[in-house]
Structures are given as structure tokens and as C-alpha cells.
Subunit: 289 residues, 2 copies
């Protein structure tokens, strides 16, 4: 990390503009869970995964919904840029975030070459945010299609992602192709139809995949949960992300270590009250040397 005299001399002569540069943005997929009340007072409210979108005020894609983002601040780190962006634009603070993927297709943005560093943001905040709207996410995947080839195989799957609001429905359809031949593993996502700006539906898809995969081997889900929750709530959240139903007994066994019971009970009517639990943050610390 120490510079030589050569280096210092070089720096004086260095002109910043010899290379053409792309624009670089940060795009944030912000997810949360919302309770869906139902009219049966004895039934538990259902859980629905939601995404935060903003309506674009300017071209390109004026009036289209997009994921909140910003051009990066050359004077600041990526994570600070992201935090400032979310606090200023929509008023969101204190959230979980991780880098997702960097999208750099030539034709992503009609203006100029734009590289987008996508982040996954998780929050449990239920308060209203400014300048944005939450959309319920419906995810519908068709069966995988397989073809064996000479050097490997091909796999493809159509996925419909519908985002709904009280006012708006955005339908999107993508074709996820995976091709394995010799050394290359090529994953391409073709947008069949999208009512989101740019290639943001791709970014959404990456976010859902990441979240789903991370459920198994991390504690990310607790960033989407309130401080205290019942195990049924937690299970409903798992099911929403995994798109599959889990068996109660097995689920409880599986997450037993990750949660701690607290002395609070949900006082719903008509059935045995359920106990509240909280995240046991340090459940795995003993297992690692």
C-alpha cells in the first residue's frame, strides 16, 4: 500500500480523462413483510413479501416504477452512498444490506453506458416512507425445461413476477436460461415483458434468488421480522420466500437454536395463545473455532 517515488511522480502527470468512463449507479431492492389481515378473527394474518418502488419523475422511463437508486458519490464509499440515498430519498434508516450483483450490459440504459451495483436491503419497518410505494410480490415459476447437449446441458424456466398495489399492477415475465458447455456456465435472463424501468426486473429476480438461498444457511430472515414474533409467523415468512409449505413440527426443530422464547404471549381469541420468540443472535458462536 506504500507508494514509491516513481508512483508519486506518475500521479502528478496522470490525467484522469484519458479513458472513457461509464456512469455508475447503486440500485436497491428493498424488501419487507406486511401482515395481510383477514375477516376470520380466529385466523392468523397472512404474510406477504413487499418491495419498495418509486415512480420516476424524469426521463428515461418517466412515470415508470423503478427500484430506488442513485449515481454514486465519487467522494464517498459505496455503502455510505447507499445509506444517504435511502435516507434522503425515502426516509429509510437502520436496515440490513448486502451487495447483490453488478449489472453492466451495454444497453441497460438508453442514455449512456451505465454500470449498476445492485444491493439487497431488508427491513422490518412498517411506518410510512416518503416518495415511494410498496408492492406485494407474486412469484410464479414454471417447470424447468432440460436439454442435454454435447458438452453439457441447457436449462430454462419462465417466471412471472407480478407486483400489485391498491392502484397499480405491474406484470413482468422473464426467461431464465442456464447453459453449461465445457467450461462456461452462462446464465442469461431474457426479459419477455416488464412494466418496470430499465432491467430492474432482472435485479429483482437476483434479489429473490439470493434471499431464498440465504434462508437456508444464514439468519437473514430475522432482518425482516419484528423484535418479537411467534413461530407460526416466522414459518409463514419462510414459506413466502421459499414458495413451499413446511411442516410445523419439523420447522420448529430446525429453527429451535436460532430463537429464544420470551415471556410474552399473543392474545388472540379462540385458540391456545402462542408464545413470542426473539432472534438468538449468538446461537452459532459456540460451533466455530
Amino acid at each position: 500500500m506504500n507508494l514509491s517515488k516513481d508512483d508519486e511522480k506518475f500521479l502528478e502527470l496522470y490525467s484522469d480523462s484519458i479513458y472513457d468512463k461509464p456512469s455508475v449507479t447503486i440500485d436497491n431492492v428493498i424488501l419487507r413483510f406486511r401482515d395481510i389481515e383477514n375477516n376470520n378473527y380466529r385466523k392468523h394474518p397472512d404474510k406477504k413479501l413487499q418491495i419498495c418502488l418509486i415512480k420516476r419523475a424524469y426521463s428515461p422511463y418517466k412515470d415508470c416504477y423503478a427500484v430506488p437508486g442513485t449515481f454514486i458519490d465519487l467522494k464517498d464509499s459505496l455503502s455510505n452512498t447507499l445509506k444517504k440515498c435511502l435516507e434522503n430519498k425515502i426516509g429509510l434508516k437502520d436496515f440490513y444490506f448486502e451487495q447483490l450483483y453488478t449489472f453492466g450490459d451495454e444497453q441497460r440504459d438508453p442514455r449512456t453506458r451505465v454500470i449498476s451495483i445492485a444491493y439487497l436491503i431488508l427491513t422490518n419497518k412498517q411506518e410510512q416512507l416518503k416518495n415511494c410505494e410498496w408492492f406485494d410480490i407474486d412469484f410464479q415459476a414454471s417447470k424447468n425445461e432440460f436439454v442435454l447437449t454435447n458438452n453439457g446441458y441447457k436449462k430454462s424456466q419462465k417466471i412471472k413476477i407480478t407486483l400489485t398495489n391498491k392502484n397499480t399492477t405491474l406484470t413482468n415475465e422473464i426467461l431464465v436460461k442456464f447453459e453449461k458447455k465445457n467450461f462456461e456456465e452462462i446464465k442469461t435472463i431474457k426479459i419477455i415483458k416488464s412494466e418496470l424501468a430499465f432491467d430492474h426486473i432482472k435485479i429483482l429476480y437476483f434479489a429473490f434468488e439470493r434471499l431464498k438461498n440465504k434462508l437456508e444457511y444464514t439468519d437473514v430472515i430475522f432482518n425482516l421480522m419484528p423484535k418479537y414474533f411467534t413461530l407460526t409467523e416466522l414459518k409463514l415468512c419462510f414459506e413466502q420466500i421459499l414458495h413451499e409449505n413446511l411442516l410445523d413440527a419439523n420447522f420448529r426443530r430446525k429453527i429451535a437454536d436460532k430463537v429464544k422464547p420470551v415471556d410474552l404471549y399473543m392474545n388472540e381469541k379462540g385458540h391456545r395463545p402462542s408464545r413470542f420468540f426473539e432472534h438468538n443472535v449468538s446461537w452459532n458462536l459456540n460451533n466455530i473455532e
Copy 2:
């Protein structure tokens, strides 16, 4: 993806230069395995993971070793830029690659703000490449240190990464910190000492971690193996990446589905000949719907 008339009008007026832009590079961690011959004719050669480095001809970090990289081509996709870079610079073609992480610290590069999109490249090529040198990788991790805090915990670990060549030894030491507090999970990598250019030792660390994690749930390792290999060879490669010894019988059971025996035997002297296997590319196709 269709543009409105508004959008088209906007594009005519759009000036590309209103925002300051960073430079964007692609940096490639290229790994392979090398056989280490030993003087016991009855013993199997050992395996060693190697990385491809180039000696920088110009400032900054003139004469330092660095991972092969390039500024991105605004007219081409990231993956094409990467392929062209590796073919032109060092003559490498036909390899496995995947995006690793995007590094964007303010102080990464002394010249100007540089965003680096890092890729992991795996090859089984043993031929000589141009303009680059292969270094053996020695990875030495100390024990994790834990501290429980109010809102979570902290974890830290010192790691020594030594890269050796017949002419050169590059010693590097990093401190990997992980802090969990409330929502944030902050992973910081502090460079204690590095004899590589820029923050490339960080990129290396990310690559090793990714490779190690992917061993368990993917077939990436076969991109590092020759077409035909013995199970002992394969096991040695696993052990190099995982930094732990495996039991033979268990290993064979675990990878049984992923490989196919071929009618070839290794004719070493002094013991039962070992059978060659090849990657069974489509072993998992039946399991997915």
C-alpha cells in the same frame, strides 16, 4: 423496455458529462492446480492451488505483482471485456468465470476513484501463458476471536496468505472483522501487510472464500480438474481448498454421483492402479423439477 416519445426527446438533450464518473476496471483472480512431484516414485504427486499474477510495468505500483485486469470497454459487455483481456494479455482462453464482488473503496487507487468488478476464473490449463507468473498459494488462518456485544457480536480473524514462486515470495496478512449489531452486518478486511498492488489481496481473499463455499453445493471444482482424474487426485484438490483432511471412504460416497468411471487406469508402479473418472455433468438433472 420501450421508450416513450418523452424519453426520446429527453435523450437528445441529455448530456453525458453532467455527472462525475469513476473509472471502472475488471480484475481477475485466476486459479489452477499444479502437480507437485516428489522423489518417492510410489507416491502420488501432491496438488497445490496456484494464482496467476502479472508484474506491473507502469505506475502506480510499478514492479508490484497484481491480478490481471483492464479498464472496461464502454462498447462491450463485461464478460466480453474480461475474455478479451485474458486472451490478449496472457493468452488464456476457454475458462470458467463468475462475478465475485465489486470493490469501490474511495482510496483503492491513488490515481482517481476506481470501481473494480472482480471475477473468479478457474482453469485446468497447464501450458505456459505469456506475461504472467503462477504463484503457489499458502493460506494460514488463525483462530476466530469472539466478543459478545450489546446488540450482537464481533468476530475477527488474522489470515496470512503467502504466494511463492521460484524467484519471489509475496507475504500478505489481513485482518477479517465481522460485526453484527442490530441490523447491520459489517464485514471489513483490513490489510495489515501486503506485497501485492492496490487492495488485490482483499480480492484474493474473497475469491478463496467463494471457491471454498461453492465446493459444497456446486460442481465448480471440476473446472480445475483435467478431463480424466483419479479420485485420490480429486480428494487432494478438495483438501487444498477446504484446508482440511477428508476420509477416503466418505469422500468417495459423497462425490459418487458427480463422477463417472472411465476405462482407463493410472499406471503407477508399486500398488494397485487407480481408475480414472470424469465429471458426470448431468448428475443432478433428475432431481430438479
